[in-house]
């Protein structure tokens, strides 16, 4: 497990518009990084194959696949996740029923994990951290 921390010397005030990127090098590498990633699992209770999404962007899940070992390896993340971990210590994660962060959502607190509820289990389409950007 790699452990990372971000170091920023200046106030974070610059805002800009970025379109939703379908992939990024730090996401989907199969490693859950502290203070960086959310990890989605194919099975409940963090079982089966997993895939990591970082905090650089909001992500549509259709662009990612579960990474083995375990059940679900090779399947698309969209509509196939049952549980999720938030590896950040002070940043909330939101998982959405629809792509592009639309519709109902489930919140995952910092340094916590949840089984997705009946609305979102196997119905996950996108996710974003409360605070995004790299």
């Amino acid at each position: 497990m790699q452990k990372v921390r971000g170091i920023a010397a200046a106030a974070l005030s610059v805002t800009a518009l970025f379109t939703l990127a379908p992939s990024a090098s730090a996401s989907g590498d199969g490693t859950c990084q502290t203070d960086k990633d959310a990890c989605f699992y194919y099975n409940s209770n963090l079982g089966g194959a997993k895939v990591d999404l970082d905090d650089c962007w909001g992500y549509n899940h259709a662009n990612f696949t579960f990474i083995g070992p375990g059940n679900g390896a090779g399947l698309t993340l969209k509509n196939n996740a049952a549980s999720v971990q938030n590896w950040q210590h002070s940043n909330w994660l939101y998982v959405y029923y629809n792509s592009n962060e639309q519709g109902p959502r489930q919140e995952v607190s910092p340094w916590a994990w949840v089984n997705l509820n009946s609305t979102l289990k196997n119905n996950n389409a996108s996710s974003i951290f409360y605070e995004t950007g790299c």
């Binding site: 518009l17 639309q102 409360y130």
Partner: protein, 254 residues
């Protein structure tokens, strides 16, 4: 429920107290990035789908993002094992409470580590998960699902669908049928996606979909609040306590 601005304050305090604790534990040069303040986008603003016509014409259905830490001095460094231990108290994964112990400076790290210390400062226990309770999130979904069964919402969706057809786009009278169009699963936004998203926002206006939908959902929410009054009262009390602590702590740190 905590809104985006309240979560920002919680996040800011958690980082501040974690950092103070890390310094007390011997890591005097460590730093954590300051959270970026909310403002450009609220992550729940698309509860009923896209509504901003200007954004739709520029980005289609894609989400604008706030860039943080954009200065050249921003970088990413690996936490050492002992820094990680001091921060978490030895927790190796989310949801696991670290037992604590002594770090390399022979300082006593409490259970939950510096993250736990930060949580205690804002009224939680180490290992707690600050944020919106499961019950509130469940009711939030219940009202959303219930609103879609409303005849008024269904009629508005029919009008929206007809409007989209008049604009040359055929989509079922379902809330996200246009944005879920598989043709939009492209790396970059296309002209078609921008045109459809723009028409979507206009048709939402002409069909009064948002006004009707939010009114119907509000009715359901009020009914649910009455039905679950006792549980929600307890949650409200906890929320008020947390907000009171946060306000006090935020003022004293500014």
């Amino acid at each position: 429920m905590f809104n985006e601005f309240e979560l920002y304050k919680i996040s800011t305090l958690l980082r501040k107290y974690s950092l103070t604790c890390m310094k007390d534990q011997g890591y005097t040069s460590i730093n954590f990035p300051t959270p970026s303040s909310p403002g450009v986008t609220k992550h729940n603003e698309r509860r009923y789908g896209i509504t901003d016509g200007l954004l739709a014409s520029r980005l289609g259905y894609r989400i604008p993002s706030i860039k943080k830490g954009s200065t050249s001095s921003t970088n990413t460094t690996t936490l050492s094992a002992d820094e990680e231990f001091t921060l978490t108290g030895g927790s190796t994964k989310p949801g696991e409470l670290g037992k604590g112990g002594r770090n390399k400076f022979n300082k006593k790290v409490p259970a939950g580590g510096c993250s736990g210390v930060a949580l205690k400062k804002i009224g939680y226990f180490p290992g707690d998960t600050p944020g919106n309770p499961t019950k509130v999130q469940a009711l939030d979904k219940e009202s959303f699902a219930g609103s879609l069964k409303s005849d008024r919402v269904k009629r508005s969706l029919e009008k929206w669908s007809l409007c989209m057809r008049d604009n040359g786009y055929t989509y079922a009278p379902e809330p996200f049928s246009a944005s879920n169009d598989h043709r939009f699963a492209t790396r970059w936004v296309t002209k078609l996606e921008k045109d459809v998203a723009t028409a979507d926002t206009r048709c939402k206006q002409s069909s009064h979909l948002l006004t009707i939908w939010s009114a119907e959902e509000t009715k359901i929410q009020r009914s649910l609040i009455t039905e679950h009054q006792k549980e929600l009262y307890g949650i409200q009390k906890q929320r008020d306590t947390t907000l009171s602590i946060i306000e006090r702590r935020s003022e004293s740190s500014s």
